[in-house]
């Protein structure tokens, strides 16, 4: 039985208890959220114990990091270090997006070393094997696709991005819209190429029930991949994107009915004035299923700083209802992220998520800010360090101990000190 079917049967699981404790919420709230599909708890039944996290309405916004090899850079030791760095930086989930070298070995390593839920995109490995063995991504078979999902599910992957909401209706809209950057999702591109070449409907859409059966057996959470996410601000909220979202909504209902936990993936490049509308549309079309968003990137013009464009978009999206933020690193659009990029990406996404939690009135978030504000007024450096989002960075800059309200200019007989006494904080 999946978390969803248990929740529906009124059963409270250990995973729900763990989530409730971490969020300081009533476990019944979690169970009800899982039962209604507004909360997911990604955890494959084959996976060892780890820090379960709940994703969805009423919960702290979670942050996802991406690691993985590519054909240009396939050192799995480097990727292991990135995983460790991402976790130390406080990510809540991680996706292994490997496309180079020993992909199976890389995934086993990630599953063994991660203390958070692990996600994958099975179509990557499937497409790459087709290219390597048969010369082209269009040579994939239906069987290959489902076999890849089955294999990865059996290994213990907790959530899978699968581009089921891509069909010929979407491609028709895509052609009609005249997009600036067409398809920017790699999985979406593999499938689009496959469909157009073979003139066949997307098997992951057409045989959706078959997919659900595999996912259900392992309680893999389905993350409906967004094949058609906007790759430039000009493409945001166009007909193709909305067609994909409408279909995603239909598939959410079918997954939930089948007892499969499901969330929806989304944008991409979105100008700020489109963010709220995007969130509302997703929540409405997808029955309140958790929204897992990349970024969103508030502008196209800042390669080298896309962790910042994404922090802007992610914060607004989070405040407007997004539940799970996929990080974007400074290397986005330029290359494969370094270890430092991974850390910067997680921290930027966490700042955005926390800012959104505050805007949503999350009590734990407000308590944290209040504590650090008081530590600042009391000039308590040790507390400021301990409470900061990145204690190591603050400690390196501040040292420790405590100070007074005098500034560098006047020494002890200082006007600022007089003011501090007046307010009772000297």
């Amino acid at each position: 039985m999946t978390q969803l079917s248990k929740a529906r049967a009124g059963k409270i699981t250990a995973e729900m208890e763990m989530v409730a404790a971490r969020e300081n919420l009533d476990v019944e709230f979690i169970r009800d959220g899982v039962a209604s599909g507004r909360i997911v708890i990604p955890k494959n039944i084959k996976r060892k114990e780890f820090n379960c996290c709940g994703i969805g309405q009423g919960l702290r916004i979670k942050v996802n990091a991406l690691i993985g090899t590519s054909s240009d850079r396939d050192n799995i030791e480097v990727e292991a270090r990135k995983l460790a760095i991402a976790q130390e930086a406080g990510c809540d989930g991680v996706m292994d997006l490997s496309t180079g070298g020993n992909i199976d070995g890389m995934r086993r390593q990630t599953l063994a070393q991660a203390g958070v839920p692990v996600g994958t995109v099975p179509i990557y490995q499937c497409g790459i094997e087709a290219i390597e063995k048969r010369g082209s991504v269009v040579a994939m078979t239906d069987e290959d696709m489902f076999a890849a999902v089955e294999k990865q599910a059996a290994q213990g992957v907790d959530f899978m991005a699968i581009h089921c909401a891509l069909n010929f209706d979407v491609i028709k809209r895509l052609k009609a819209t005249g997009r600036v950057t067409d398809v920017v999702s790699r999985g979406g591109a593999f499938l689009t190429g496959w469909m157009l070449h073979n003139n066949k409907e997307n098997p992951l859409y057409e045989q959706f029930d078959r997919l659900l059966k595999i996912l259900k057996a392992y309680d893999v959470t389905l993350s409906l991949g967004d094949a058609i996410r906007p790759g430039s601000t000009a493409d945001s909220l166009d007909g193709a994107q909305l067609q994909g979202l409408i279909i995603a909504g239909e598939l959410v209902a079918r997954a939930q009915a089948a007892g499969v936990q499901v969330m929806v993936e989304g944008p991409g490049h979105v100008p700020m004035h489109h963010v709220k509308t995007t969130m509302l549309l997703q929540k409405n079309l997808c029955q309140g299923a958790p929204y897992f968003i990349l970024g969103t990137l508030a502008t196209d013009v800042a390669p080298g700083y896309d962790h910042i464009t994404s922090a802007i978009g992610g914060a607004i999206a989070g405040a407007a209802g997004a539940d799970f933020i996929c990080y974007v690193t400074p290397a986005e659009h330029l290359g494969l992220p370094s270890e430092q990029d991974v850390k910067d990406g997680v921290m930027a996404a966490r700042v955005a998520a926390h800012a959104a939690d505050l805007a949503r009135g999350n009590k734990q978030a407000w308590a944290k800010d209040m504590q650090i504000a008081r530590a600042r007024v009391a000039l308590d450096l040790d507390r400021q360090i301990a409470l900061a989002i990145d204690p190591g960075k603050v400690k390196a800059a501040l040292g420790s101990g405590s100070g007074d309200h005098c500034c560098a200019v006047c020494g002890s007989d200082c006007a600022a000190q007089v003011a501090a006494k007046y307010f009772g904080i000297a």
């Binding site: 240009d72 950057t181 067409d182 390669p303 330029l334 700042v351 900061a388 989002i389 560098a408 007089v418």
Partner: protein, 432 residues
């Protein structure tokens, strides 16, 4: 005659024409904005090397970088390197916030180096000189303070930040309502201490006409600073902040009547869901005067990452109506920024400003995005990097994270999604 006087009389000055040309709007639009006070063009009549820049409604969002000497180790040379780094990163303005050392020379050097408007906070120097002259900043005289304001205006400072609205009534309210962090602003804290020690009203409020007279004579713009900017989220939009804003609204009116250009300085630490309300209040109370916001940072916990926190807040503030963003660096709350943090702070603020201009539909903003995205689709790396907000950094990262080997990028390597799909969609070669 100040620019405001000229505009009110229907006269379009060369400064207004230059701003209009840069912004791609009609000179009459600028003249009208200046006349109504919704646009300011900070430009001291004693300045010779300045390229006029407009701030306000209907114009591209501008950013400002702060430098200045603080503490024993500060050097003019280091600070001027920061000025140059900020200019290279594309700042629209510089503030010299020196609180110690040879403040006069630092200011003159900044004015000579920057072709942008330069702002200062004269109270800092008055405090430092009072400490030297009288042993403590509490012994500063009103004459000391005005002498410094006059000196800085004479040097050619384009906008003077002055805490004219931090009155005794506002200070008492802050105490009464139990503000968590009443001492956020360096100038504000000292001014409040002075007021309490001497049991006197804020001289910048009491002698506001004298402030205006100096500003008018030199054509300087007043930037009404806030002593009660929120220093933590919990203090945002409290009684003290709002009362000070009400007073600033009155002072805006008096400045305009005196023919002095004026803008209003604001937040601080503001939760995301209070940014729009903050900007609307300022616009309403201050009759459309340009809003110059510090950040705002959207959480208290992001020390080390406050340039990111501020980019979030700044983007939202500018989108909802703030026109001028003061950068926040990664060193905020934990030290003084180095040259690299200055550059990074400027770029973060520029990203926020551009994201806001894009959301507001400012002419040209979407065009920039479109050009870069088209270059991306064509895998035209040279063009992508040339169009990037910081071409140097984009070029460096591409080199380090990909190398020159790949036509795509190392993220996808030979499985570049766009190359795959474009083959079948029959569209041009693309990139992500």
């Amino acid at each position: 005659m100040t620019l405001l006087n000229s505009a009110q009389k229907g006269k379009t000055t060369p400064e207004m024409e230059q701003v209009a040309a840069k912004e791609g709007v009609a000179p009459e639009f600028i003249r009208q904005g200046v006349a109504e006070g919704t646009i300011v063009i900070p430009r001291n009549i004693n300045r010779s090397n300045i390229i006029p820049m407009g701030i306000g409604t209907g114009l591209r969002t501008k950013v400002s970088a702060s430098v200045g000497m603080y503490g024993r180790d500060a050097e003019i040379g280091t600070e001027i390197r920061k000025v140059k780094a900020a200019l290279e990163a594309g700042t629209d303005s510089i503030m010299d916030l020196s609180v110690s050392g040879d403040i006069d020379s630092m200011r003159r050097e900044t004015l000579a180096t920057a072709p942008t408007p330069v702002g200062t906070l004269p109270l800092y120097q008055a405090i430092a000189e009072a400490a030297d002259k009288h042993g403590s900043s509490v012994n500063m005289t009103v004459e000391d303070l005005f002498e410094v304001i006059e000196r800085q205006a004479t040097d050619g400072v384009d906008f003077l930040a002055l805490h004219c609205g931090t009155t005794m009534s506002v200070v008492e309210r802050a105490k009464r309502e139990g503000r968590i962090d009443p001492l956020v602003s360096y100038g504000g804290s000292h001014l409040i201490g002075w007021m309490i020690y001497n049991q006197k009203e804020n001289p910048l409020y009491e002698h506001y006409d004298r402030v205006l007279e100096i500003a008018r004579r030199h054509g300087a713009t007043i930037s009404l600073a806030d002593g009660m900017r929120p220093g933590c989220l919990a203090d945002s939009l409290d009684g003290a902040q709002v009362e000070e804003l009400v007073i600033l609204g009155e002072l805006v009116r008096r400045a305009r009547e005196a023919g002095v250009q004026v803008m209003v300085k604001g937040p601080g630490h503001v939760p995301l869901n209070q940014i729009e309300a903050t900007v609307r209040l300022q616009k309403s109370l201050c009759k459309g005067a340009p809003y110059f916001v510090f950040g705002p940072v959207v959480t208290d916990i992001a020390a080390g990452y406050d340039h990111i926190s501020a980019a979030i807040g700044g983007a939202l503030a500018a989108w909802t109506g703030a026109e001028f963003i003061c950068y926040v660096t990664a060193a905020e709350h934990i030290g003084l920024p180095d040259v690299d943090q200055v550059r990074e702070g400027v770029v973060a603020a520029r990203i926020a400003a551009h994201a806001a201009d894009l959301a507001k539909g400012m002419p040209g903003a979407a065009e920039w995005d479109l050009q870069l995205s088209r270059a991306r689709k064509e895998l035209d790396w040279e063009k992508q990097i040339a169009l990037a907000i910081d071409p140097k950094r984009a070029g460096l990262l591409r080199k380090e994270r990909t190398g020159d080997s790949s036509s795509a990028c190392a993220m996808c390597g030979k499985y570049c999604a766009m190359e795959v799909v474009s083959r079948y969609l029959g569209s041009a070669k693309q990139g992500c």
